[in-house]
């Protein structure tokens, strides 16, 4: 049979370009491949991220995303409020504003921070940012040169690790336990860095209902850490998006409330109101604030006017503290469903944290299991979680995963945990088949033909 091969001439009716003359693709598909900045080195397509795309299918129970329950807001009231801001005040709300953020909102932010024990903040020390994510990025840009060291809890928030990587800083993780960051471990890390000649720019900490660990830094630990910071002249960046989402007790006073000069505080309306509005803030001493304002103006000119006005108006006219209670009751019910089903269903060898607020449970798998390698099985089983390695800069975390309970209904959570349990059991079965294999005893190796 004659082979039709390699037809180079285009078919007569295709109307295509002339014979063989295509603008050739660059062999690496990217003519700019050699020109990118060093800080983009980590920006690659990732299998983990790809496996997440299945969570958009309804068949999958996602215990992966940290999406707040925004539909529990009084959407009609918020809607008319925002509508009035445009129709009644469009000249301001649709216009550029101050790079530091709307003064009225900054006053209200100080009222919000008072609930966390910060009683001495001035509106002039507040910089409104596009989410506290931008705030963290600005603080990192203002302080870190490539090669500087940042101390962070181990595990830490994946969004922060991304910011630190983009700044080409080196992250050194410090141990946590059920009461949060361990002060002795922090001191040990500082001594080691000093001995290595490392320049530690700051400690990054999430003291309340930690993402991903779920734990909260206890009161005695807060005192100890502020004390260590004083003794070692250490700057602290305190990231507190979840502080008002406790189920059983009032917020423990912030690190910032104990030391105004040494602690830079990041706050957010994402979990107490709405993440989509992209409104957060940084509270910093005057000199730092100056630099942050210059840096944010260079990035975004000013934070969004409409959503800042929306937040200020919401705080002024809506029962926002009651709304937080509505949220926390929802999250409490979901936390309960998670912990109860974990207790009932998880195989031996599994352990997990017991959050009393926020969104997350940090689960330790039985010894030898790997949350990332297990992920395809979970996809097949239609349950999603975030593997632990995403929360470390040094490759640790393989034996852990994060469960997020804020979004699914309690019944779905139970079903998700059921599926997860089966996945873990199947992995344990697999490990019991292969873990004991001692390849050193193989006899075939001597007679094997080499390829």
């Amino acid at each position: 049979m004659p082979l039709r091969l390699l037809r180079v001439a285009p078919p007569p009716d295709s109307g295509a370009h002339p014979h063989g003359h295509v603008t050739p693709r660059h062999p690496r598909l990217d003519p700019l491949a050699d020109r990118y900045a060093a800080r983009t080195h980590g920006m690659k397509a990732s299998e983990i991220r790809a496996l997440f795309s299945v969570v958009s299918r309804p068949e999958v129970v996602s215990l992966a995303g940290g999406m707040p329950a925004v539909t529990a807001l009084p959407l009609d009231a918020v809607g008319s409020m925002i509508g009035e801001l445009v129709s009644g005040m469009g000249a301001q709300t649709l216009q550029y504003g101050s790079g530091q953020g709307d003064p009225r909102l900054r006053e209200r932010i100080c009222d919000v921070m008072a609930l966390e024990g910060i009683l001495d903040a001035n509106p002039s020390e507040v910089v409104v940012t596009v989410g506290s994510q931008q705030g963290l990025d600005l603080v990192t840009r203002v302080f870190c040169d490539p090669g500087d060291v940042i101390l962070a809890e181990g595990p830490s928030y994946v969004g922060a690790l991304g910011v630190f990587q983009a700044a080409q800083a080196r992250v050194r993780h410090v141990a946590m336990d059920d009461d949060g960051l361990v002060p002795e471990a922090l001191e040990q890390a500082l001594l080691e860095c000093r001995a290595n000649g490392d320049r530690v720019k700051f400690l990054y900490t999430i003291p309340n209902f930690h993402n991903p660990a779920g734990v909260t830094l206890s009161e005695p630990r807060r005192r100890a850490i502020v004390d260590i910071a004083d003794r070692y002249d250490l700057l602290v960046v305190e990231d507190n998006p979840y502080g008002l989402l406790g189920f059983d007790h009032d917020p423990i006073p912030a690190l910032r409330s104990r030391n105004a000069q040494r602690v830079i505080y990041l706050g957010s309306f994402s979990k107490t109101f709405s993440p989509g509005l992209r409104v957060g803030w940084v509270l910093a001493p005057l000199a730092v604030r100056e630099k942050l304002v210059l840096a944010t103006e260079a990035q975004v000119l000013c934070p969004p006017s409409l959503t800042q006005y929306a937040v200020a108006r919401y705080l002024d006219t809506q029962p926002w503290r009651e709304q937080i209670k509505v949220f926390t009751e929802l999250y409490r019910e979901r936390r309960d469903a998670t912990l109860e089903s974990l207790e009932t269903l998880m195989p031996p060898g599994t352990a997990w944290t017991h959050p009393d607020g926020g969104f997350y449970v940090w689960l330790e798998l039985p010894h030898g299991l790997d949350a990332k390698l297990m992920q395809p099985r979970a996809v097949n089983a239609h349950v999603a979680y975030v593997p632990g390695i995403g929360f470390y800069a040094d490759g640790s975390g393989r034996g852990h995963l994060r469960l997020s309970y804020c979004y699914p209904e309690p019944d779905q959570i139970r079903e998700g945990v059921r599926r997860l349990a089966r996945v873990i059991e199947a992995e344990l079965d697999l490990h019991s088949t292969f873990d004991a294999v001692d390849t050193g005893t193989f006899r075939g190796l001597g007679s094997a033909e080499r390829a």
Partner: protein
């Protein structure tokens, strides 16, 4: 089949409206993201070629949607089991919906790598020695004993991969015997059967085949050279990390052999319309079949579009002609 079957995209006076195509993409598999990327590209290309094209997922809305607003033909840009194991196509057959691509039974065969290799070897084509076994075999007969036999027979290095699946997910080269048990564990996370093959070193080629109405024709081979040495998921889908040469930088004799292999594979497995065979050319010039894909990637970093371009075609035109052929047949 007459010559006139290769109809242009904008058809005869009986059909004044542009061809209505539904592009299936997404699905509930590991390759969902790649599929959505392929599907989006396909829709753009078809719109550019003058068709009416719409993206849909293979979910509970699909069948009612097709019943309510029938498509002239469906283009399957689903990767992974949903699109490639034949089940969806069997359902489309039941529904009488024409689609571009291989029929259900052929898909089932191609999707199962060991089954495809058996057919290919029976057809007299080279493919690396292999064994494919489920987890239960290792559990029941003892993993150590079975792995020992595998190493004795196939040697090292080995290529370990899930018996079905694409985008290189789960595939690993194992050079040291002590890494073998762990590689099996990670592979079994993808599915119940693992394929272990003798690792063959050489130039990696993607061999695309298209049938525009005159039988399957081989498009120019695309040579793949990943910077890291491993053509894994990251290397495939991050522009800049892999070098592609189309046509491949191989001599004419090798190019001919590779093209012949791709067409023989397409025929031997009963494939239709499009396929992409992945192969390795060893230093002696022999072309070895690795696997074949009935729903090749059509993303911006995919090899099938590169091959189409190297042949001097426009991707949109090729896709439109394939759809038109299928739509024509159904009337």
């Amino acid at each position: 089949m007459s010559e006139g079957a290769a109809v242009p995209a904008v058809a005869s006076t009986e059909q004044p409206h542009p061809l209505r195509a539904v592009v299936l993409a997404g699905g509930l598999t590991f390759e969902r993201e790649v599929s959505l990327s392929s599907g989006t590209q396909v829709v753009e290309e078809l719109l550019r070629a003058g068709l009416d094209a719409e993206l849909r997922d293979a979910d509970a809305e699909l069948l009612p949607g097709l019943a309510a607003a029938p498509a002239d033909a469906v283009f399957i840009a689903l990767h992974g089991a949903t699109g490639e194991d034949g089940a969806l196509r069997a359902v489309l057959d039941l529904a009488g919906v024409p689609y571009v691509g291989s029929p259900a039974a052929a898909c089932r065969l191609a999707w199962d790598k060991p089954a495809a290799k058996s057919v290919v070897r029976s057809a007299g084509l080279a493919t690396p020695d292999w064994v494919a076994l489920p987890h239960s075999t290792f559990r029941e007969l003892g993993a150590g004993a079975v792995l020992d036999l595998i190493v004795a027979r196939l040697g090292l290095p080995l290529m370990v991969k899930p018996a079905s699946g694409g985008s290189a997910l789960g595939a690993q080269k194992v050079s040291r015997v002590e890494d073998l048990p762990a590689s099996m564990v990670s592979c079994f996370a993808y599915g119940d059967t693992v394929l272990v093959e003798r690792f063959v070193d050489g130039v990696e080629l993607a061999l695309s085949v298209v049938d525009l109405g005159e039988g399957p024709e081989a498009l120019p081979a695309v040579e793949i050279a990943p910077e890291s040495g491993v053509f894994d998921y990251t290397a495939r889908y991050t522009p800049g990390l892999t070098e592609y040469h189309s046509p491949a930088r191989v001599d004419d004799a090798v190019a001919q052999r590779a093209a012949a292999l791709a067409v023989r594979v397409h025929d031997a497995l009963g494939l239709a319309d499009v396929s992409r065979t992945d192969a390795i050319v060893t230093p002696d010039g022999e072309v070895h079949f690795l696997e074949v894909n009935v729903s090749p990637g059509l993303t911006e970093t995919s090899m099938f579009p590169m091959a189409v371009e190297a042949a001097g075609y426009e991707l949109g035109d090729v896709l439109a002609r394939l759809l038109a052929r299928r739509a024509g047949r159904s009337r």
